[in-house]
Symmetry: C6
Subunit: 252 residues, 6 copies
């Protein structure tokens, strides 16, 4: 349930054929937002999880060997361009810059995708839209998007949901009572405060829901928090100790 | 609409079979200038987006396996050399030096392209011309063109359009009223001044047009500037804050 | 024989389709715990030993060339998702991050695995569960899980078994008399204390059992300890000397 | 038009089957000298532009798959050895050392080329000669020829032509009047003096000719110098400024 | 002729299906010891020389293309597991860690080898045993075994044979008279003392035997020592000088 | 014409099936010595120029695809082992250590070569002998032979021929008069003294012969020395200046 403004901006981008970049921490709802917008706009959605080894061919397509000939198979990007789908590149910052560069001609006035191996130049369907996401909160020094790539996007900042909405989500999806849901969100706020003290990743709403499910399934509250919120996020003994202390303070 | 001088120099280069190098920031119109010149000179245009993984074979061509034989397929460079097209290598600085070296014999008195895999030596059509572009404003320390490659080009410096022309572009392509277009260009000038304070890439005319479209579509002006001009360009909190302040000062 | 709590948490995770991460030193029983849980839950178990060269294709599957056609063969991850098995990635921290990223869509609300080479989207069977393990005690500086991956797991901390249980294991599996079993576990505790003095890996229960077997087979006790507990763990002369001294003090 | 001495030395090397190494800056006429000598000696010339990705197979040859068999295709080096051609490796310093090593057996008393993939040992035709070139003026720290490779060549130092000859070349090939040709060469000498102040590559005779052509085509002199001599050679603002000042001083 | 204790420990390891690690300098008899134990235990021996490029497929097996189909061919590890052979990985420390990791499931309670390419899970024959060797004396800083791999072995320390036995070996295999054999071993002890002064590798028994053979063949004693013991071991002039001095002192 | 001692040692090594390592500067006659010994011993000679890209398959052999089947083709090492040839690896230090490791089983008591791709174990013919060479004078810090490889060779030190013999060689092969030959060798001795002052490679007898040929062909003596002895060996201006000064002092 994103706020109305993000929806309006996204709709305008779609109407004006502008690519969109979603920035925000892991698990704050970027993927669900794209799923929601695809449904709302009546467009198919094609998702690609980016990683270091993703090649341009993985996006554009390749020849496959059949019995007695080779046949071209569109990759997710070519497929989306042809059918007017929304193509969503999750964690685009993980992809190599040379892979990302194939997006360029699809994100300016040309809206074309050159398939060098077949010599075809795909003109994107009017409904085609490119959406990318990444988490600006870590690894900013090691990897970054090329400035000339950033220039091609309108950007939406995402963050964790506001307190009341996050409590409602934990309540609805986690299945605990209201007091526990509220305490879990309060604990999450405290744990997120450790970001400045070296915690690379802070607990997402997703982890809160997982922890709530364990509690609803009968696991004692503090142990559920240990295995659901503390142990996954750090191997550092002093950080884990500080997190456990916050758990113990919240659920005395 | 490039100024007449660039057109005259480009035409002389074409007439004298000299390769051309376009230098300038992202989104200042280099690609459109080449498209304009190709149309003006009545030459086909073949564009290649360069990246780290672009091999010499991608430019020259390769054998493809068919049902019962292998057939040679020209790459974009060989194809352009044969048919007398303008071959445009966008962001050539991203390509590996060993890929760029295949351009050498096409850019001196030989004007030939050696296809080692077939043993053919293609003599370029008189109308063939090589054009490359790159942005000298960033990553100069990491990648640079080989001096012996630079020697093979006449170079044209590009920059953002002058104020009046940029306002006219935003007005015509972005669809806002004249006052907003003027204010957006004024804001762009202020934001471009942050280049010396660490902003790797400054807002292009393209981003101004995108922002104007959002405004014309009903998004509030300041929010349109945040998502169209600020958020795409930096993840740095203090830089983004400074940019937002400039937005707020411009659209009080 | 893991303690009841780990079993309860694991069962709740399985019931709620949550992925599980097992953290702990080598040889403390993580693999056996997963085998036990698979048996208890009546699920097939598919184990993958992770390493630097493990590709996404190794997990998802690949085309194999047959006499006159190519046929798809599911990898262990696709196979587990289809049949509702527990898929156990041992020492996941050894795998490359780009390989690990294929796990993402299987560990959030989607529970899907996209097979890009065939265009298939596998919806995981309700019984499918992902389990990963790693040893947080070494190489933490060189390799680490991506924070956005950690967010997808409930984590269980493992350690060596408590003294009495470890003695019982050595007694039962190693075949020595009770006094020797007890002395071996006492020695292990002393050797594990060298972890802070530079011993990268401390002796596991597995090594204690191996040493006990040698003793039961007639090898003199101290020599069995030298070849079973000291020599495998370090090439450093002073560390090995300190370890031998501890052996000699234990078995005077 | 090289001076008589280089021709005599080259002819003696050819008569004595000695390999030749041409050293000198880009665009000073090394390639044309080899073309001239090949014509003078009545030998075919085979040129290879070296780069980082040039493999031994690219030089020696490879098997190509045909309809129902594989056929060997000689590479440029094997072809030259068989037919007694001059094989010219341009910018040999760009090639990897392991590629260069295949030249060894062709440049000592053996004069053979071992084709490992076919088991053939090609005995070079008496007319075969190997010629390599490189520019010692830059990147000397990063790449260098193996000492054991250098031992196999007689070396000729090249430099830009003397003033009078360079003026004659600009006049004849560039098509300007004599005063402009003289002024351009004077300017070139000044610009070449910036080599010690950080200009990686100084303007070659080739660039002077290109600039002269632009002037002859109607481009104003100073602008022609800016796009033909200044902008191609440096992105550094202060260096480009110094170069523009020299242009303005020359053509007041 | 290893001492009885190593044989007893090895036999117990074989009886208890424990993997064995042999540590010691080059040429001290590790390979021969394994050959002896294989003969003594009546097991086939399969030896693999490890190196940086050894892949898991080299150990496990691969598909080979035949006339009209592909057939699986077991690698040495799979072959040894099936037939109950001793599989000996010589200089295992040279192999990449990701290759070594395939050994894991064969060295714990599972004793299985997963052949991912065929989907087969090989259950090792009861007679199968894994033996690895390496030299802890050099390159310890660059390469090391993963701690989790070391945990899987019983380790035997090897060193050069004691004086009397080494003299007997040189006498029997080298063919010199007794006085020369004794002097050679005395010299070897002195040369081995240079290990602490920077000699990366000290002379093995193998080199002593080679030198003795040259002497028996008529080469003067000191020259045989120069070419057989000094020149192979160091290119350092001062170290070689010190070694020559020791030769001259021994054979005045 | 090597001195008798090297021949005797080599013959003893051949008779005792010991591998030989030739150490010495480039162009001092190592290759010719091996050719001479092969002729003298009546053995075929198979030479491999080593480089960074030489794989174990290049040495051992590979499958080649024919019309309707794959056929194995022995590499030079396997071929030499079968037919009892001398296999000479020139500049072995250039090869990767993982390639060199395949030599191990051929250089100890086993004298076998394991062909993993076919499962064959080649037992070397009694006449087979392995010879390697390298130049210890440079790049010693970057590349070095593994100590465990060095242990497998008897080593012969080579150097430039003594003065009288070198003069005779220059006289006979270079075709100049006796005084010039003598002066060239004197000059070479002076130039070789620059080794300690930074000259990576000093002039070999081969370069002296090439220079002599140019002189015999009519090139002025000093110019012949410049192009034959100075320019090939260094791009460093001060070193080249010092070398030219030595030329001018020798041929006043």
């Amino acid at each position: 349930m994103p706020s109305g403004n993000e929806i309006a901006v996204f709709e305008q981008c779609h109407a004006n054929q502008l690519a969109v970049m979603l920035k925000g921490p892991t698990g704050c709802g970027k993927t669900r937002f794209v799923e929601h917008m695809a449904w709302r706009l009546g467009r198919p959605l094609i998702t690609v999880s980016c990683h270091d080894d993703l090649t341009a061919s993985d996006l554009v397509g390749r020849f496959l060997i059949h019995h007695d000939h080779m046949a071209w198979q569109d990759g997710p990007l070519a497929s989306a361009a042809r059918q007017g789908a929304i193509c969503y590149l999750d964690e685009v910052i993980e992809a190599r810059q040379d892979t990302v560069v194939v997006l360029h001609s699809l994100t300016d006035h040309r809206r074309t995708l050159s398939v060098e191996k077949t010599g075809e130049l795909i003109q994107a369907d009017p409904g085609f839209q490119l959406v990318v996401s990444y988490n600006p909160g870590y690894q900013r020094m090691l990897k970054d998007m090329k400035p000339s790539t950033r220039q091609r996007f309108v950007a939406l900042d995402f963050d964790f949901p506001p307190t009341e909405r996050e409590i409602a989500i934990v309540l609805r999806e986690g299945g605990t009572d209201a007091a526990t849901a509220q305490a879990l969100v309060t604990l999450a706020h405290k744990l997120r405060g450790l970001h400045d003290r070296g915690l690379a990743e802070v607990p997402s709403t997703r982890l809160l829901v997982a922890t709530a499910k364990l509690i609803a399934g009968g696991i004692p509250v503090r142990q559920a928090c240990y295995v659901g919120l503390v142990a996954p996020l750090s191997d550092d003994l002093s950080l884990a100790g500080a997190m456990r202390d916050l758990v113990d303070l919240t659920f005395v």
